[in-house]
Symmetry: none
Subunit: 198 residues, 4 copies
DNA sequence: AATGAATGAGCCTTCATTCAT
DNA sequence: TATGAATGAAGGCTCATTCAT
């Protein structure tokens, strides 16, 4: 039972994610979810009591699944720092570009309305986690002399704000893959020791 | 009477701005505006026919008032490049921080839903304009040897993406003034000739 | 004053007639009238207090202007009975066919909703008047041996019910001019002495 | 449940019919229907999405139930032509007179507003069908020498236009049963061989 | 657990009517 | 007289939520 109902929860969250990604937050109705899941109205309420409830859960699944493992990989990894940072940025790029599965705007919509204490704010957790990962990677790179940087934390934060800016731009103005590459490259350039830049 | 009704339009737009700033775009109903303006339902429709209509007008007031003069200042200015860039960033900072009057999230919401041809997209125009201004300022700074930078355009873009990221973060997670300063400083640091950095 | 305002009343009624003819009764708003007359909202209310008021007046103008003179013509006329009946039917046909000026449907709409005492009902007055005219013409025709008919009143009523049927059909299904001719001819046929029919 | 919801559809259509009969088409709001049915606003929308939708369904129920069987009766009947025509007219009379259930005016209103291609126009179909039935009956009557008529089709059409005129008059001016009898009798009179008329 | 019909609150929009000028 | 901005009632429609089965 608990098992079965857990499976169904996951099933619903998965479908709901797609709906939020497509329509944002406010435009999504319980009916949209019901339709996407092909279950009954009453059925949905057995698992989730509102779109807010659903959205928060969708987000937390996202964070825990995606980023936790990234953290582990970053810390336990045995690849070179440069390679790992490249990998990390590739993931970010994929996230920026993915059309049909991007919760960015829905997330902005959602959190712009409610005053969530910072500690509970999954958005903040996600951002901070990413910064810490990048910082770690840069430090590793400095140790192996792949990178040069006087302020790894500042640099990590700079990178993540740029990523944030790109995400939002992608969802509104639109960005090309080339534009993203150019932007990320610009930041990375600052990490490479001068003699290697030429 | 054209005069009077024009005044009322402005009054409504002003109140509406505050509402959009507080609630974003999708969460705003005509009723919200009506309540904020303390006018009748029918009265509002005399001036604006939908929240979209309202929002676009609010935006266009914004753009024309703020940015045009900034462009002029940048081009005709006789202050030093560094001062002018500082001034520009101070404006951006004010924009990022203003709580009760920040349309960032509403704007993202709005434009994430419709496919506006890039050329018509005020968001894009605003962004591109800002980048050009910053690029120009950096180039001036290089001429006067205040700055050092090998890629003024890339640097300008980097700065504006960071600003974009900060705006969105301010509207969702929240940022402190110190955090903004730190972030902008980090970028500026990269512009200062090395010998001056110490 | 009285003179001037009387002129304006007529002007408004004339414009209103066209509007009712085009849109029926219920679909017409005071704004429609105001627009058609190119006067102000408040101005209209100085003359008429509702669309009902307007419509009733439009109708009574219609009746008095059109039919009264027809009555006179019928009674005082010196043309032959056959010619006069032909003339009368030509008028009816014009009425049935006129697209842009036909109050039939509006009238049905209007009177189907309110219980107007028969004596006040302009629709009834109009119908009865027409029947009396036709009856009179038939009787004249019998006197001059142009017509043969044992029941002039019955025949007149039959004719007018057919006209009524044609009007309504014209406004809903649509009828061609030929169809009207055929129908009216069929009725007239019954009035012509047998020997003349061949 | 398809069963149950079908029952409710019929229930609503039945109540709606009465409302349309009383108020015509344009004067009817969804709220009127809701009140008549004593269901909730939302509940009605579960079954019908507009008054147009409702009205068309009310009409189609009407047509299919009433007229189809009349056609069959007319063609397969074994009664005398005179009896059958009398029966047919009795039906028409009932239709003309029924107060609480007469869709005539509503139907006129409805179809006067939209341009329905003649072939799709149920009003036209109904009229044409009736004419054909009457024509057939007259022809039968001629065969059995009950009737005399040189133009059965013309005569049938004349009858139906009179019926149409009577319907509309009943819905607006009002007619008594006697008036209807008189009118129909007048038409029938023309069908009876002269020697029988005396 | 699951269903989906039903409810009613709430927003949208239009329009008759008023009223200060 | 004449204007037209302003109001508020009324009807349209959607949707979260409940509940009998």
């Amino acid at each position: 039972m608990g098992e079965k109902s857990n499976q169904k929860r996951k099933y619903i969250l998965d479908k709901a994610r797609a709906v939020f990604a497509e329509k944002g937050f406010k435009n999504v109705t319980m009916k949209d979810i019901v339709d996407a899941c092909e279950i009954s109205r009453g059925g949905l309420y057995l698992y989730f009591s509102s779109t807010e409830d659903l959205f928060l859960e969708v987000l937390s699944v996202d964070v825990s699944e995606d980023d936790e493992e990234a953290i582990l990989a970053a810390i336990n990894g045995n690849a070179s720092a440069g390679d790992m940072l490249a990998l990390f940025l590739k993931e970010q790029k994929k996230e920026i570009l993915r059309k049909k599965n991007n919760l960015t705007i829905a997330t902005y919509e959602f959190f712009s309305m409610r005053k969530v204490p910072a500690s509970d704010n999954p958005l903040k957790r996600q951002f901070d986690t990413a910064v810490r990962i990048v910082e770690k990677l840069i430090e590793n790179g400095i140790d192996t002399e792949e990178f040069y940087c006087e302020d790894p934390l500042g640099c990590a934060r700079n990178l993540m704000y740029v990523v944030e800016g790109l995400k939002v731009t992608a969802g509104t103005i639109g960005v090309t893959e080339e534009a993203i590459d150019k932007e990320l490259m610009f930041v990375l350039q600052g990490l490479v020791p001068d003699e290697l830049n030429n």
